[in-house]
Amino acid sequence: MDDKKLKSLFGELVNGEIKNAPNFEDMWQKAEKNDIKKPLFKPFRLVAAASILIAGSLCVMLWLNRKPATVQTTVQMLEWQSPTAGLLKIESNVQPSGSILEWQSPTSVLMIPSSIKKSN
């Protein structure tokens, strides 16, 4: 493909389009005054920033509220007793020696004493 021809075709096309290009000075001054319509992203940014701020302050509030609760829990933990703690205490007071030592199996009568076994 002929580069020269392509160059002239591009020249014709783009030159035709930019014949009525907007005036530079007008555009420059407009930009200087910031008098330009822009795609509006700023409100979205504002909303995003505001929601981040709200979420952050909420987290801080929650964290601050949690602190005394932790202290209370610690106190409660120290005072906490097992529901069966009472039973354990009772057991420690009982004197097991008498009853357990004297206990005999109900079938011990049926058992043959070892001295008789040996003689047989």
Binding site: K5, V14, E17, A21, W28, A31
Partner: protein, 171 residues
Amino acid sequence: MDLSFYKKELEQIHAESFGWALRCCNYQREQAKDVLQSAYLKIFEGKARFNHKSSFKTWWFSVIRHTAIDWKTKLTKVSSREQAMEAGSPSVDMNTSLDEIIKNEHQLVFKKALGQLSQRQQEVLQLVFYHDMTIEKAATAMGVSIGSARTHYKRGKQNLGKILQNSDLKI
């Protein structure tokens, strides 16, 4: 770098910048105007600063391209490339001479042929054949690698040649 430097440099390439903005906006005049205006605003806001890594024109063209991309994503997208190309077709008034009509006709055919290429192919071809950039500089302005720009250039030229061969405009 003060504003007077930017003003001096930009004034020299204003028309070309508009031509590039048009390309980036699929030849939609109003959008191209807004894009170029926003690009100028970036200078005042300090969002666009020339860092001497490339030539001023290459840097400025990449600013325009990025601004156009921002606008494209935020605003209504063009339904089809062909529609856009037709919207910007040259007008012919009653006083136009026969030569002018033929010239306009050629432009229209060429524009339609260009419209059948990919965006990147159109961009690299315009940068090289109209804005006199090398492929390396075009790659910088387009924000792609040199290899990629070369491929777009080669394929773009091949495709354009094929399309124009089948049209009334033989090259």
